[in-house]
């Protein structure tokens, strides 16, 4: 498998993600946001960071960058796309994923380890996990509060598009285990077609024992 990591001005998890992808055998190239062409690739990763300084709305300016036309075309052909943190924000601003990510309910930047439950393990991104397994992965964001209207939430649930939900260490999904106010404790969703995945937690920050955990590596191992 080949991956491309898109580098926007202000991306800061791009190299971490490359190291993680390569650690699990995925050949990775870095692609600059102003490039007009994607190299031959199976997976596009939109990394975390603060693209364009998060001006206007997080991810909004990045979603209009030149390479995003190619990323959209890649996804329309069924190619895999994964957006982590700021990458997830870019995906909702590009309308490759539905809904929107707004300011955390406590108005604070949250940087800590949290636990998420894998509520859908039948995706290209979670296939090596078991259903309802609990993963400990760090989050680091100010705008991770997933919002969508009722109809859309119903649709996401009906189509099994909610992939990760914030939970406590025992796997209970409740208000206490919701760090940022996301509806239904949503931490990650997938599109209807199943090829575009966005998540707020950073699996690349939990893919090495030296960094204090390996739970994120299962996402990279699942990629196929």
């Amino acid at each position: 498998m080949k991956a491309s990591v898109i580098v926007f001005p202000g991306s800061n998890c791009d190299r971490d993600v490359k190291i993680s992808l390569e650690k699990f055998g995925i050949k990775t190239s870095m692609v600059w946001h102003a490039d007009a062409k994607l190299p031959k690739t199976d997976l596009v990763v939109l990394p975390g960071g603060f693209s364009y300084g998060d001006y206007l709305r997080c991810g909004s300016i990045a979603s209009k960058s030149r390479i995003m036309k190619e990323v959209t075309a890649h996804s329309k052909k069924g190619g895999l796309v994964m957006g982590i943190c700021n990458g997830f924000q870019v995906l909702v601003e590009s309308q490759l994923l539905p809904g929107v990510l707004i300011r955390n309910i406590n108005l604070k930047f949250i940087c800590k380890n949290i636990t998420v439950k894998v509520t859908n393990n039948k995706t290209n991104f979670t296939s090596k996990t078991s259903r309802n397994s609990v993963l400990e992965i760090p989050i680091a964001h100010n705008e991770g509060n997933y919002f969508a209207n009722k109809d859309l939430i119903n649709e996401l649930e009906d189509n099994n598009q909610i992939v990760l939900q914030y939970c406590d260490t025992a796997g209970n999904i409740n208000e206490q285990s919701n760090p940022n106010g996301s509806i239904k404790n949503i931490a990650g969703i997938i599109n209807k077609k199943g090829n575009v995945f966005g998540l707020m937690p950073h699996p690349e920050r939990a893919s090495d024992e030296l960094l204090g955990g390996m739970d994120g590596s299962i996402i990279f191992k699942s990629l196929k």
Binding site: L56, S60, I61, G99, V100, I102, R103, L107, F147
Partner: protein, 81 residues
């Protein structure tokens, strides 16, 4: 021509910043604030004499970039200098 664009959160969208500002104002003694919502304004100067054309351009800008229509509404008007 100078245009003013105002982008606000839709009514049913939670506005944590607006609530924090409202609470702060209340604590400062500004009582009886029923509701406070935060928004954004943009002042745009365009080289366009026809007001209709200028406004329709501004609407296009809102739909394509300035507002996220999932959660935000916008309004545009021309400002007479």
């Amino acid at each position: 021509m100078k245009l003013q664009v105002i982008v606000t959160l839709k009514k049913d969208v939670l506005d944590p910043q607006g609530s924090a500002i409202k609470n702060s104002l209340s604590n400062m003694g500004f009582k009886n604030i029923e509701s406070l919502r935060q928004g954004k304004t943009f002042e745009i100067i365009v080289n366009e004499k026809d007001e209709k054309v200028a406004l329709s351009k501004a609407k296009d800008m809102c739909e394509k970039l300035l507002a996220n229509l999932t959660i935000e509404d916008y309004s545009v008007k021309a400002i007479k200098e």
